[in-house]
Assembly symmetry: C2
Homo-oligomer: 275 residues x 2
């Protein structure tokens, strides 16, 4: 982890290893003789690239509030040396964060964390970073609220525009949900497939992308929910009601059924988070 030091006004985030708490020691200084540096090596999974790992690390630190808006990261050279990576890799990571609106880099000024309203909170990666730690309850509430707005409307559109192929997709997903439960990966995948099928039936790309992002985030909370206790309620009947209404072309019924489904999911997650 990286120590945070804030100056008056615009703070500055100094990148240094936790072990060296003295504030002025240059990271590369030969203070320790053996290669004893507890170098905060940025490890990456097999598939992930180095700059991706750095972006994940920094992004998670930013969305979790460890680096606060207005803070400026210490210079490229210092930070990259502290992370024990090349300047190129660090820069590419910063470009990613900049692309997602988390930071802004300018000459002389340095790289500073942007205010929260500039963040692309609906970006899948940003959501993943937000949920990699302890997600902000208020933000989770916002997400569910948005979902409760969008998904019923999507169900209404789907009831208008679905064709036979769409209905088959939903039936297949429903069958998979019945076979596996929500406690398994396959079951959760089937749940996502069902919702994706509904979205696809709306013929609205913007809706598809948006709900894909939200759905991914909600999946995290669902998994979180499962961690705490077994799900007491069988979710399949509620899904079937949605399917029936969409298949029948019942616009109002589809919207209402989906609204019920989302509300119940919210209720489950809310109670699980309190416990």
């Amino acid at each position: 982890m990286l120590k945070v030091v804030r100056k008056d006004g615009g703070g500055e985030v100094h990148a240094m290893s936790d072990s060296m708490t003295n504030g002025d020691a240059p990271p590369g200084a030969a203070t320790d003789i053996g290669s004893e540096e507890a170098a905060p090596k940025v490890k990456r999974g097999t598939g992930r690239r180095l700059h991706g790992a750095i972006a994940h690390k920094l992004g998670a630190a930013i969305v979790s509030g460890e680096y606060r808006p207005g803070d400026t990261l210490s210079g490229e050279v210092a930070f990259s040396e502290a992370l024990d990576v090349s300047r190129s890799a660090y820069r590419e990571a910063v470009q990613v964060l900049s692309a997602k609106g988390l930071v802004e880099s300018r000459p002389k000024t340095g790289t500073r964390v942007l205010p929260r309203h500039r963040w692309n909170l609906l970006d899948p990666d940003v959501l993943a970073w937000a949920f990699s730690g302890e997600p902000d309850i208020q933000f989770v509430r916002s997400l569910f609220e948005l979902r409760s707005i969008v998904e019923p409307a999507a169900a209404r559109l789907a009831a208008e525009r679905r064709d036979k192929a769409d209905l088959k997709e939903m039936r297949d997903a429903l069958g998979a949900m019945r076979r596996h439960t929500l406690a398994t990966d396959a079951g959760r995948a089937a749940d996502r497939d069902f919702h994706n099928a509904v979205l696809a039936a709306t013929r609205n790309d913007a809706l598809v992308v948006l709900t894909a992002s939200i759905g991914a985030a909600v999946a995290w909370t669902t998994q979180f929910k499962q961690r705490s206790r077994a799900l007491p309620r069988n979710p399949v009947p509620d899904h079937v009601k949605v399917y029936d209404a969409i298949a029948a072309g019942d616009v109002e019924g589809a919207g209402e059924a989906m609204r019920l489904l989302v509300d119940l999911a919210l209720e489950d997650t809310r109670s699980a988070m309190k416990g």
Copy 2:
């Protein structure tokens, strides 16, 4: 632009020079007889960085369909040389595109354009790129449809949760809209301010971010609309109705008034696009 050559199966995009449409060719190198590389120098505005300009160029080419999903860009060295920039700048640009889900880079395979459903269509930059050329009518329709779903719901929430400060913001924006018209930049800014004030009153960050993206895109279409002809209708009264309902705490009325507002805007844009 860069010429596109597709092989059988997975196509490949070769980066090669052609006559740039923007007249920024250096006078000295204008007529290069021998080496006829009319180097497609990527020029950037004052504030924009080089890799940002490259990202804009490539991103616009991708979302406009010039590079199609499945195509693989020619290698880093070839492409960066064709663009007459360093590999670092090119790579950082690709990282940006990768962060937005437009491309994916893997060793041996190269960087290839991802299928459309992987794109972050709600990313502000991606939207800007999409609207920098001729926007897809179908996608614009999707965007308006999403807006017609989200904004009325936002108005309902705002009617529940607004406080005096929110109402003051809306009144100020309304006043600015009255003073300037929608034909001026200031007027359009006031329009955005009003909608942003409504969004802020919902106390929902996800809603704010989402509608900020959509609003920016819609602003482009509004400008496009203005280009074709003068707006025949005065938009202020409709906005006032929304404000009155929100101020009165009339949830249903606010949603209905906003729905009317969005529908009218859609109607205007639709007729303007046909003409």
